[in-house]
């Protein structure tokens, strides 16, 4: 297995490939009800599509607030390096849901920093290739793994153009009630689905980014024209990463 660090060329390619794309926010018919902080009783529907806009011009160099908040929220900070494991190897293998990535335009030398997580595609390649149906797209647009039926084949990790998924190699000693995770399954960002299902409307990364004063992440319902994310998308220029793949991602970037 290749254990080289992620090559810079790939990152640059991703950056350059992000061309301006018209943001197709479906015309919202029904506004989703104001968040009541109660657990969800009814199944999710496609009347809501969760999405995110990340303002890369506000994303501070060296800041890892979103990554750390994600780790804490989902129990990824409880991972420990197995005894005798090489530190470099461990950094390549440990589960990470958000990567801070730097892309450089070779022509102009402009460097942009951005967090990359699961892009919650409308047509997710990870779902296409999953042999068991464990990788799936929920009606409200969240792409996630049903760990009960994941067999750990990692096809989805190969298929994902965003390198968004991680595999859990070691038994998990300490787990969280809201974010169960265990050895042998693939996992990735799920837009803090436990929060959404319990009536909250923010993700951990968004909260952390706002708390640090950057407020580079706007999250919400793409189908609700009144939601902050839909308003921001209507106002500002935004890109998908790798738009040529036509995956219609739920995560968009401004200033890329």
């Amino acid at each position: 297995m290749n254990t080289e660090p992620t090559d810079a060329g790939r990152r640059e390619f991703i950056g350059k490939a992000a061309a301006a794309t018209a943001v197709a926010v479906a015309p919202g018919v029904l506004l989703h009800a104001a968040a009541e902080a109660a657990p969800r009783g009814e199944p999710v529907t496609s009347k809501v599509r969760w999405g995110m806009l990340i303002d890369t011009t506000k994303c501070a160099d060296g800041c890892r607030a979103c990554v750390d908040a994600c780790d804490k929220e989902n129990g990824l900070d409880l991972q420990t390096r197995p005894e005798g494991e090489d530190a470099g190897k461990w950094n390549q293998q440990r589960a990470i849901w958000i990567r801070k990535v730097k892309v450089r335009d070779n022509l102009t030398g402009r460097v942009t920093g951005l967090p990359v997580m699961c892009q919650h595609c409308e047509i997710p390649p990870c779902v296409d290739v999953c042999p068991t149906g464990a990788s799936f797209r929920r009606a409200d647009g969240i792409v996630m793994v049903d760990r009960h039926i994941c067999i750990g084949c990692r096809y989805c990790m190969m298929a994902c153009p965003y390198k968004a998924r991680s595999f859990i190699h070691e038994a998990v000693e300490e787990k969280l009630t809201h974010a169960p995770r265990g050895k042998g399954c693939v996992e990735s960002c799920n837009f803090c689905v436990h929060r959404l299902d319990n009536g909250r409307t923010t993700t951990a990364c968004q909260d952390a980014c706002a708390k640090d004063g950057h407020a580079a992440i706007v999250f919400g319902d793409l189908r609700d024209p009144g939601s902050p994310v839909a308003k921001a998308l209507a106002q500002h220029q935004s890109n998908q990463i790798r738009p040529e793949l036509k995956l219609n991602t739920g995560v968009r970037y401004h200033g890329l």
């Binding site: 969800r40 929920r138 998990v172 809201h178 399954c185």
Partner: protein
């Protein structure tokens, strides 16, 4: 007189043993929660006891699909609810994992010789997050 003392002694010993274990020493038809868990104070579980004994695995399996795929969390059938109610606390007030020896889940599963896989991923104590 002697018999009375012995009986009291036995009862005391038994109670002491139960408190010390704060769990379940055996299993069978009279299977019930022991220790100081919330479940000890309740008449019945989320369903009549015989139904729960026989079908809790089916209820959990159904609920896991509804929760993961449809996002439904307002339910009495969630595993987190089971753990919240059936977890004992040790004398320091620290929750004892439900899958540790002698505890509610593990002792019956040991008795029935059925592997308990939930806790490879799920927390065995309420973590509050």
């Amino acid at each position: 007189m002697f018999g009375m003392v012995t009986r009291r002694l036995l009862a005391g010993l038994l109670a002491g043993a139960l408190v010390a274990l704060a769990g379940n020493a055996g299993a069978g038809a009279d299977w019930k929660q022991t220790g100081n868990a919330k479940a000890t104070k309740l008449e019945q579980c989320v369903r009549p006891t015989p139904e729960i004994r026989r079908n809790h695995m089916a209820l959990l399996k159904h609920q896991r699909d509804v929760t993961v795929h449809e996002g439904v969390r307002k339910t009495p059938d969630a595993l987190a609810g089971c753990i919240d109610c059936h977890v004992n606390k040790d004398p320091q007030g620290k929750p004892v994992p439900v899958d540790s020896q002698g505890q509610f889940c593990s002792s019956c599963h040991a008795f029935a010789a059925v592997q308990l896989d939930c806790f490879q991923c799920h927390s065995t104590v309420p973590t509050g997050r």
